[in-house]
Symmetry: C2
Subunit: 157 residues, 2 copies
DNA sequence: GCCGAATGTTCTACCATATAACATTTCCGC
DNA sequence: GCGGAAATGTTATATGGTAGAACATTCGGC
């Protein structure tokens, strides 16, 4: 910081910076939308205390019991190094279990515990209502499909 | 971790976890798209060494010279506490300057330095080509407009 | 049998976000 | 005017997600 004299203020409106330069950028709006959606996700999942990452891991283990850590991590785009703390947390909460695989002594096979299955069921219900809220916000299933298609084009290689 | 015997593996395909449960969720795909876009942003801006946040701050100061920190931060959805380190970094790199405002001894008025203006000009050029790449990926300006509209619906209150 | 690859793990680093607390300064109602 | 509420910048701390490098163990192909 310094205290040299300031150039004159040439802004059009003194208290409302013009966000124009960035508000039209795809990546910027994508970011803002994602933040908004995750914010609402956190509200819905406050009771279950699940982050988006944790929810997706539970959902994938539920759909693919016995998967290896690397498989689940890769399917979600998470580095296997970063997956360790995540799955350890779910383990510590008694929602998941890591068993030694029969044929491969390196890999851990992932399963839901009985409590994990209960939590997953409740999480799926919460997610369903949250998803419905998002679709309503978008203006219907057709708009949702359109958005999903456009986002897929951004994801592709 | 434990080493109790594993339940049988009941997955449909042993090496490809079914991402279905989450791949159809709006928030999940939003997240993946945002990661992909920011990844490419980082590639384009590697030479200028600007993060998305830094670029947006430069762009807003360029469009609104003399704005206060709180104004720029609020316009970008950044908490003013987190904005401090950001603007200090740009200051340290000689791209921005914080001057005392005439009328308010609390506020800092933000300006670009000469070098900051040069960097901003180059950054705008890089951003323009990157944006064009995103639009091409989406399939044209119409698709871009559609996406921006759908994302705006998710952002709104 | 050996060597490369896979797997889980630890460590470290970076970016972004959130909340709370604080000193200074301004503003507003009375 | 004065006093309390609000704004501004700042510090500190915590959380969550990402990334890369290195390591020991284990598997598999040749």
């Amino acid at each position: 910081m310094d205290d040299r004299p300031s150039p004159p203020d040439t802004r059009p409106h003194r208290n409302r910076p013009d966000a124009g330069p960035v508000s039209g950028i795809v990546g910027y709006r994508l970011r803002r939308a994602q933040m908004a959606v995750f914010q609402r996700f956190a509200t819905h999942f406050a009771e279950l205390a699940l982050t988006p990452a944790e929810f997706s891991v539970l959902a994938l283990i539920e759909a693919n019991p016995g998967s290896k850590q690397s498989e689940i991590a890769a399917a979600l785009g998470i580095k296997r190094a970063n997956f360790v703390a995540l799955i350890r947390g779910l383990d510590a909460r008694g929602l998941t279990e890591r068993h030694q695989t029969a044929g491969d002594r390196r890999a851990n096979a992932l399963f839901l515990t009985a409590e994990g299955r209960q939590v997953a069921a409740r999480a799926n219900a919460v997610q369903a209502t949250f998803e419905a809220e998002c679709v309503a916000r978008l203006g219907g299933a057709a708009a949702r499909d359109q958005l999903m298609d456009l986002l897929a084009r951004l994801i592709g290689p």
